[in-house]
Each structure stands twice: as C-alpha cells, then as structure tokens.
Amino acid sequence: MIKIVKRDQPSRAIFFLTPILAIFLTLVAGGLIFYILGFKPFEALKFFFIVPIADKYGFSELLLKATPLCLIAIGLSFCFKSNNWNIGAEGQLTFGAIVSGGVALLFYEQEGFYILPIVILAGAIGGMLYASIPAILKTYFNTNEILVSLMLVYVSKLILDYLVVGPWSNPEGFNFPETRQFSDSARLPLLFEGLRIHAGIFLALASVVISWFVFYKTYLGFQMKVSGFSLKTAKYAGYKGKKMIILVFLISGACAGLAGVGEITGPIGQLHREVSPDYGFTAIIVAFLGRLHPVGIIFASLVVAITYLGAETAQIFMQIPKYTGQVFQGMILFFLLASDYLLFFKFKFIGSKK
C-alpha cells in the first residue's frame, strides 16, 4: 500500500529536480498528442526539439529567442518572489518598443555612437512607465494588478497598431503597416557574420548577474523574500510595502522594455505590428520553470525557446500546426505545478516491511 505523507520541510533537492521531471513529462504527453494527431511521435519530437538546434544557425536562433525570454523572466521573478502578479509583461515589452522605436525614428538617417544608448534607455523607461500603471493602481487604489496589467497588454498593441498604420508609418512604404528602417547607429551590433544573434544577449546576462546580487546579497532581496512568504510578517517587520511593490514593478517593466528594444533594434530593425510573438506571456512560464532563480531562468529560457523554434520546424517539415508550441508551453507549466506536490508530500510504501 502507498501512503501519502506530508514532509516536515519542503525538499530542496526536489525543488530543482522537478523542473526536469516536468520537461520529461511534457515530452511524453507531447509524443502522445502527436500520436493522436496521426504523426509518428518520435519523428515529430525530433523535428520539434533536435533538428532546429542541430547546426550553428539553429543554435544562434535559439539564443536569439532565449534572450528576450530570459530578460523578461528575470524581471518577473522580482514581482513573483514578492507576491506581485504582473502578468502584463507583453504590454510593457510593447510599450518599451514603442518609446524606443519612436526615439530611434527621431535619429533617422543620423549616425553616432550616442544613439544606441539613448534608444536602449528609452525602451527601459517606456517599460517602466507602463508597469507603473498597475503598480500605482495596486498600491494607492487597491486595484487588482492581474487584471489591470493584462488589460494594458491589449491597449499597448492597439497603440502600436495605430502608430505604425498612421502617424509613424513609412512615407515611402506603400502604406504597409510599418515604420522606416532605423539607422545603423540605432541597431544592436550582430555578434557573428551571417547569424542573427546580437548584442542584446549581454543585456540578458547582465540582468542575470544583477538579479542574483539583489536577491541574495541585498536588504531589498531579503524584504522581497519575506513578503513572498507572508505579507503579514512583512508588515510586522515594518517593511514599506508600497515602495517595494512599485520598485519590483519598475524593475520588471524595465526588463520587459529592454526585451522590446532588443527585438526592434536587433532582428527587426523597425516597428511593425508584431514586435513580439507573446514573449511576455511565455516568460511567465520561464520564470516558474527556472524556479525564480537567476541561473534556473537561464536554463529555462533555453528550454522554452526551443518550443518556438520547434513549432516552426515541425510546421515546415511535418505540417504540424505551429500552435503546438503554445500547447507545449502550457503543458510544461501544468506538469511543473503538479510535480510541486512532491515538494511538500512524499509517498511511503507500507506493507512490504512489517
């Protein structure tokens, strides 16, 4: 007989092992779905997870997709650690892209080393401004940040749509919904000839280092941790809750805004309707899969980035619908949450020994 027993203390080893279990279970369930859809499961999984990253170009694409995911997830981990449910990173990314894109357009056909830093800064500020809305409404008007941050995603995409169709559209662009190409000085430099991976990856890596330092070496990190465990304790300890809430939202918005800058000044080079294939939502999964730990998030962003590439490859080679990527992302989170059960409970086998 098997009995379920509560653990005295959550297991730390299992805390970092369950993400791997979750990925494994996702692969099994994914194979099953492919089988039901009438594809050969192993072949489909191969096209989904191995073929896309088998060469140099594929690996560069993997890093290209993992960069925004990592950056946003790092920002979100500040919010999630302290019990703030910012789920509107997609909107903060979009608004960051709008502000930095606007600045980049101001420097149209100009050259200068100072342009790129200004554009990057503008993106971070844009993201922060947009994240400050749910933060201020939460702290001063008691408004649910989940719903506000989410509604703002729709609004940001409509603002972007308005701008690229209307006032910012390329005057020589035959009415295509896109702006002019940014000047070279407003573009992030490419790292290798012929590959799309760009200097934005250093922004992501910097965010990893900084967040690790803040989480584990500063008083703010400690406050966040306490507030995450228990808001009552945080209040009792006299932490200035409101300030912290606004701060974590600003950090998270800045990261999402930077991810937006990375996209438009990296691979895209202009503003158009689709600056992000839902990186802001997918990064939520990355943050959880990485256990809100900076190093964990690096690995998680690489794993989840594969689902983007795999979906494209599987569509081209096997006509598997590209939304399978999203299905995989949802499943990873389901299995991860489910396997958390093992953190708090263990199975005890009774009966074999008496």
Partner: protein
C-alpha cells in the same frame, strides 16, 4: 432626422447579444470564486468551448450535440485545473494562467481545419412576435435559447446562492473552509463541483461566440472577453445581479464603437477598440478604491488553498 423607434430597439438588442458571453462566463466564475477558488483560466476555457462547439456542429451537424459538447469540453478542461489546485494543491493564479495558454494553443491546433468554414444558422425563438410591439419587440423576441438563458442566469444564480441549501454550502466553503470542513462538509468536493460548473458556463459562452454571435471559427476569437468576464466578477462585488449591469455596459461599449465607426466619427479605430479595456481598468479602480467594501464582499478564502490533514 427621424429615428425609427425599432432601430433603437435593434441597437439595444445588439448590446444585449454582445453581453451574453460575458454574463455566462462571469456567472460561472462567480460560483467558482464564491467557493474560494480563483480560476484565471476563463479565457482558455471559453476559447476551448468556442472551437469545440463549432467543430462538433460542423462534424455532427447537430446543434444540440454542439452546444452540450462545448459545455462538456469546458468541464473537461476545467477538470485539469480542479485536479491541480484541489488535489495537488497548486497555486491558483499560476494554474489558471497555464490553463489559458494551453487552451489557446489547443484551440488553434484543433481549429486549423475549421478556418474559413461557414457556420450554420442557429434557430431563434418568437421570431413572428418581433414586429408586434414597437421598441420592445426586437428587444424581447427573435433570439436564440442561449440568449434567454443568459439573461435568466444572474437571477437563477442569485436565488441559488441566497435561498438554497447547496448555495449556502458553497458560500460557507468560500468564506471559511475550516469551519465548513468541521461541519462535515467535503470542501474539496464542493470546490471541484464549482470549478467544473464554471468550466461549463465558460464553454457555453465560447459556443455562443462561435455558433451564434459570429457563426464561424476565428483564431483567438474570444479576444480578451474571458479576462473582461473576470473583471466583471470583481465589478459585481460577487453579486450576480450586478453582473447583468456590468455586462450591458461592456456590451454597449462594443456596439457603440461599431456605430461610431459607421457614422464616421473621426477617432482612430484603434482607440475605439481599446475603449472596453480602458473602461475595465477605470471601473476596477473606482470599485476597488473602497477597500473596506471589497474586503467585506470578497469570499474570504478566495485564491487560498485548503488542505485537510488526515
């Protein structure tokens, strides 16, 4: 300019029609939340209902199978949520988000083969009475059965919560699971039931969209209505009758936006489309400012896991 009085009736009827999916999903979610469970997966369950209803209608040709099939699909997908949050005690917010991402993905995957297929005509009731009464005729008559059900649902829900024993149990579980459990109520069972019921209503809301409101399958066709439904529950301060008012306001915004475009108001279309989302935020701010009122009306255990140690 003479405005035909029946034209006003038609506009009101169209506002009501666009309120239907919001009412259905909100009333379902309200029951779920009253039992103490916050299910953020409404958007995902709704879109699953939309594709299931449309696919079943196309494949089987039966509207009845399609409508009930969509509700069943909502129940099935919400079972995942129920199992995770109630049996495996996972975080409600994260699980609900996963449900939405998963639902949107699955629906697009299934829906790939149904893009561009025309829908079927859904039968309407009392069509012949439409012209008998000016103004009220188009408002009251000539709608689908789902439409009438949606407008009865807030009253049924209110009666259920206030006057029936099961309704009382649901409220007790949401307000104090510990005491309910001590009274011998199976908290987990009640919450399971409420989650599945919420799923069925979201499924029905989705089916209304793809089978009656815009009878075709379009990817992502719920377009945030699931999230607006969640906001409506807060707006209503967990009172089903107020959901009716809220849903009419949002339905009105959607319809007015169409008419403003039609008569050529010189506001960019994107701003009009953004209006419902912006108004949702403004309304949430106004409602939530009174933190005491919110605290009194929110089910006390909302979003908190309950685990009974054996």
């Amino acid at each position: 300019m003479i405005i035909d009085i029946n034209f006003i009736g038609l506009i009101i009827a169209s506002i009501m029609a666009s309120a239907v999916p919001l009412i259905l999903a909100s009333c379902g979610e309200l029951i779920t939340e009253r039992s103490g469970v916050l299910n953020l997966g409404v958007e995902g369950m709704m879109i699953i209902g939309a594709i299931s209803g449309f696919a079943l209608m196309t494949v089987t040709g039966s509207l009845i199978i399609a409508v009930f099939g969509a509700m069943l699909a909502g129940v099935l997908i919400s079972t995942i949520f129920a199992f995770l949050t109630q049996t495996l005690i996972t975080n409600h917010v994260a699980t609900g988000l996963a449900l939405t991402i998963f639902g949107i993905g699955i629906s697009a995957m299934i829906g790939k083969n149904f893009v561009g297929i025309p829908g079927k005509e859904f039968p309407v009731l009392f069509e012949s009475l439409k012209d008998t009464i000016p103004l009220l005729g188009p408002i009251l008559f000539g709608h689908s059965i789902v439409f009438y059900f949606a407008f009865a649902l807030p009253f049924i829900t209110s009666y259920f919560l206030k006057k029936t024993k099961i309704g009382l149990i649901v409220r007790a579980v949401g307000d104090s699971p510990e005491s309910a459990s001590n009274q011998g109520i199976n908290v987990r069972l009640v919450r399971y039931a409420c989650i599945l019921y919420g799923g069925s209503m979201s499924g029905l809301a989705g089916a209304y969209l793809s089978m009656i409101y815009t009878p075709q399958w379009i990817e992502n066709m719920t377009g945030g209505r699931g999230w607006i439904a969640l906001a409506l529950v807060v707006f209503s301060t967990w009172n089903p009758i107020k959901i009716l008012i809220g849903a009419m306001i949002f339905g009105g915004l959607t319809i007015i936006q169409f008419h403003m475009q039609a008569i050529g108001v010189r506001i960019p279309v994107q701003f009009l489309t953004a209006l419902p989302y912006i108004v949702t935020i403004v309304v949430l701010v106004v409602i939530s400012r009174d933190s005491r009122k919110i605290r009194l009306s929110t089910p006390s255990s909302l979003g908190k896991s309950f685990h009974k140690d054996n």
